[in-house]
Symmetry: D2
Subunit: 353 residues, 4 copies
């Protein structure tokens, strides 16, 4: 099978490095174009990127020359974007307008009414929104934009989806304890986080409080109707390298027993599992029985970082049920999410012109 | 003025060390008797205690001989107890039965209907429960037991009290991020907590969900009537040395504006401030305006670790209001709490026979 | 091929867990007997062991029953020992006396004149010492004891061996920065090491200053003649989970250029590589060119934790040359070392009766 | 007594913040002019500085307006400089040329033959070099430049000085484990240092290997003759907030017993102690007897962070003696060092025109 050539926008950052690692050995895709900021243009990848991953930088990728972040420069139709929101807001539509299919991890266009905010296990049908993009300025030449949720939303949405379907959701309270890799590199200064917790992450609470309702929303004639439940989030940064931990309480619309909730999580699966997509975890939501799990350091890499790990399901005196969840923020919360989106799109024909 | 001689039970642990430090230079009290486990009896304090505090061990205290933890051995009537709960359940009543006034940081007897669970700014009148102890077996010879709340309850109760009084409380959700010193020494293993969060602290959630209602309860003829609101807690251990951070959401009974809430905290004070007790903070609840505060490392030592620091008051889509609080777990949450209790008791005549 | 049944002494500790993980899927060995302290006897492995590894506990192992640590109880001749030194001093000779071949990670008998202190790449011929054990009380029934070096010695000895052979060594200065996993579990208290360095590890400096000379010593008629060079060590504990980092300076007997030193490391290999032992790294000593490497978090897992990683070779104004090395303390420094010893012994006939 | 007005160059960085804190309540000095980069000019101090210290920003300082870093703008003759080396190389001579006395923490001019590299307890007579600056271009109008050593040099030089004087030094080996605050703010990225050690700090080893010889050098007619001993340094960054720990080995010229070495440290003092300068520690070098001290977290703040703490003096098989030292890097290693320099200069007439 001939591999699909792809480009990477923002290839040198923390998420860009994950893209590179995932795509370079992928059975379906092949990175042929790497772009970062204008400042890096012309440098070799290994010169421009401060490689921060434990996995070594693949030799073949290390000597690729960085290209300018300009639409006309990219020979591949499909582009993965790990750009910062401010830059993405401008560049992603420009790339789409040039006919590229942009599979983005950026927050810039997630809430745009014509842009799918996609989690393949939950809302694969939202890809139909791409048809609406053809009416937009950026969609006239066949390009499009598909996004994945914020790193702290991803794991939460996967925990909520089975409950919303089985019992209905009314209210959700979530307190996050987020890893430093979520802020990129250099990101969080060590003087800020060593032996400390920072109870604030700019813009983060707003994203968690709005994205899940779109993801779990119903596709209607004129767009996605947001699901009808309230979320309140409190976001904290903790001295952990990878893995966002979240304490969650929620109120269901219909009564559910502990066993029914566990069963809903256990049986949850979707198109990625049916299609056996390469990046799809066999078990989407995995429940850990030990009293003190999940823990970021011990559990984040389970199932290649693509499952939501849950533990400590117990009654909540205020909302009904509470539990703890863990999700790998740069895998299921970023690069892995975009990759799974791309795999679903390929298998369902959305990557063909 | 002649100082009041006091004993310390559990003098070698993390909280016992704080007791020693606070009492050794206190204007009113003087530690004359130090006891730890039988294993330590006869050793010098400096030999038996793994001194873990940044402040140096006072020279005069270092050479005191550790005494056996037996009631008859202690020449002082007043005893501070930093015993573990299991041992305290047995020893504290025994010391009271021998006529000692036990001022305890242990959880063993906090919820006993005749034992004050005291925060001097909130419920000084609960000391009247001591009269009820005279009918108990342990109270026949004039002894008694007074307790302070759990380290994670203390800061929360101080934040809630002004709101309960001004607007009434209906529901409280709290997620804690607790420092390792709360587990004593050696306590949390470094392999468990480096670069990690542990989403479980045995027994902790139960304490936070029940203690505040007793503290904020009304003293009635037959004991304390618990305040009528629900608390749900999720407790996490984080790699922080000192200072418990808590993300709180709550529902009030009567509507309140942001300014009214801030004013309720700002103006909150009680008997310790009126009596100018040595350990009383001038500002009981201090609100920090910066968007990313309070933080454990930067703020825990404000006001000698005796204030509740609050920040980030903002609307909560689920319960109405949410905020972040910080409290020093071994000061206001343990040794400082017991000391303030003792100071109040001295000034209101409860230390006299 | 039928697998060789083996036992594990001290199976529940940090090193014991690594043994279990390595042996359970090994092509040659099969763990059939797990023992820990008397206290654990009769429990299932998963009940008695606080499993601290990121890799999950193999299902088949989790339900094995723990056996008493008594020689007569073990059906396998070969036993891996992860016992603490004090217990090992008594139990390992007892197991050998019962005819077992004990492959030990303990320090108890490393310096015994008849016990090989083995690093297969360096001194495989030291296994001939086993013949001398037949004259000892513990060796009469065909049993024996083989040891691997201390976790901080292993990486150092592998870095020194090529230089000793090529240029001769006269003096070595080493300052270690050691990971907390080296102290076992619970081991180092978090209150001791968060945001801190502890400049003392009991007994450690003595081990590093004496073990390499035995390892690099010449086997003579009456035992091993220690190599003739001086080592001075300063050992520090740092808040790192795995991986010992060491700053080394040394004085050679014969002049060597930078390229000659690099070539000596690069070309270094031994029996494990010739025999293609399963646990042998292809590159024994790997030199990293980046100015700021090796680093524990980024490099410890290279080559399955079995290589010594070196960087920053540069002139030392005092001794001639200096460099930084990294070695995985629970793999090449403990369980992996013992496993490689066992593999070499199997291939060279030492595991046969 | 009228206070001496002073300016601060680089007032918003980590060292600049320490300057502000120390000077604002100093009995002799009063900060009247604060400058940072051009970018900050015109902002209030609290707006431009990311205040990173536990001690609160003094109210009066918080509302000072930041001035441009231009010589003509500063009304005070005395200026404390916390500029980065590259900028200092240009600006400090410019300020001196305008008649300012620059008391600098920067490395830019430390090794200039006419610039004192001053530690008041060691080489107060080096201030006579200021006379030589009058012949330089920057010294024609009465200005001058005085520097303090690098943060990792300061503690080492104080430990070496008593030994050099009493026994003579021949060789020194030092491995540092340096705190993140030494890199300023934001400085070290948390992704680089959490659970890690970075065995490289750009330019640092060169400074430690050369500065002590100048500090301990003899003032001669044509400048300072560097002391005659060799230093070799290996510098590592560790996840510690404040306090540089150093493992040191050394060879003396004349034999010394353990007691003689301890006595040399114990009795060491100089002009700051004789003059009772406000920032001078009573005990310059303090020896800690405990086997596992000094430790950064527990000991860095002793004596207001102005002493060198030493422990673990023991024989070194290679060089003769070895020990561990600790020095607070932003106090004795930066702002406190410059302040002590200024205090000495004031008391010895060097701040008068």
């Amino acid at each position: 099978m001939k591999k699909i050539p792809v480009g990477i926008l923002g290839a040198t950052g923390v998420v860009g490095q994950r893209f590179l690692l995932q795509l370079h050995a992928h059975p379906w895709f092949e990175p042929v174009w790497l772009a970062a900021s204008d400042r890096s243009t012309g440098k070799l990848y290994r010169e421009a990127a401060a490689w921060r991953l434990v996995e070594p930088l693949p030799e073949r990728m290390s000597t690729q020359e960085l290209r300018p972040p300009r639409p006309g420069d990219c020979p591949a139709r499909v582009i993965f974007s790990a750009l910062d929101a401010a830059i993405a807001a401008e560049l992603e539509p420009a790339f789409a307008a040039a006919g590229h299919m942009v599979i983005s991890n950026s927050s810039a266009l997630r809430m745009h009414p014509a842009v799918p905010l996609l989690i393949p296990e939950i809302n694969p049908e939202h890809l139909e929104l791409l048809a609406r993009q053809k009416q937009l300025e950026w969609g006239r030449r066949g390009g499009g934009i598909v996004t994945n949720p914020n790193c702290s939303t991803a794991g939460l949405a996967l925990a909520l989806a089975p409950l919303e379907r089985a019992f209905g959701l009314r209210k959700v309270m979530v307190t996050t304890m987020q890893a430093v890799s979520g802020a990129g590199y250099p990101g969080v200064a060590s003087l800020d986080i060593l032996g400390n917790v920072v109870p604030y992450i700019g813009g983060e609470e707003d994203k968690i409080e709005r994205e899940p309702q779109k993801i779990l929303g119903r596709l209607e004639a004129d767009g996605v109707a947001a699901a009808d439940f309230q979320i309140s989030a409190a976001c904290n940064r903790v001295p952990v390298e990878d893995g966002h931990l979240e304490s969650v309480s929620l109120e269901l619309r219909r009564p559910a027993s502990r066993d029914e909730i566990l069963a809903a999580w256990q049986s949850f699966h979707g198109r990625p599992q049916e299609l056996r997509l390469p990046a799809a975890p066999a078990q989407v939501v995995e429940y850990l029985e030990a009293a003190d799990r999940p823990q970021p350091r011990l559990d984040r890499d389970r199932n290649a970082g693509m499952s939501t790990l849950i533990g400590r399901l117990r009654p909540c005196p205020v909302l009904g049920w509470k539990f703890t969840l863990l999700s790998h923020n740069t895998l299921r919360g970023a690069a892995g999410a975009a990759l799974l989106n791309a795999e679903l799109m390929r298998e369902t024909g959305y990557l063909e012109r």
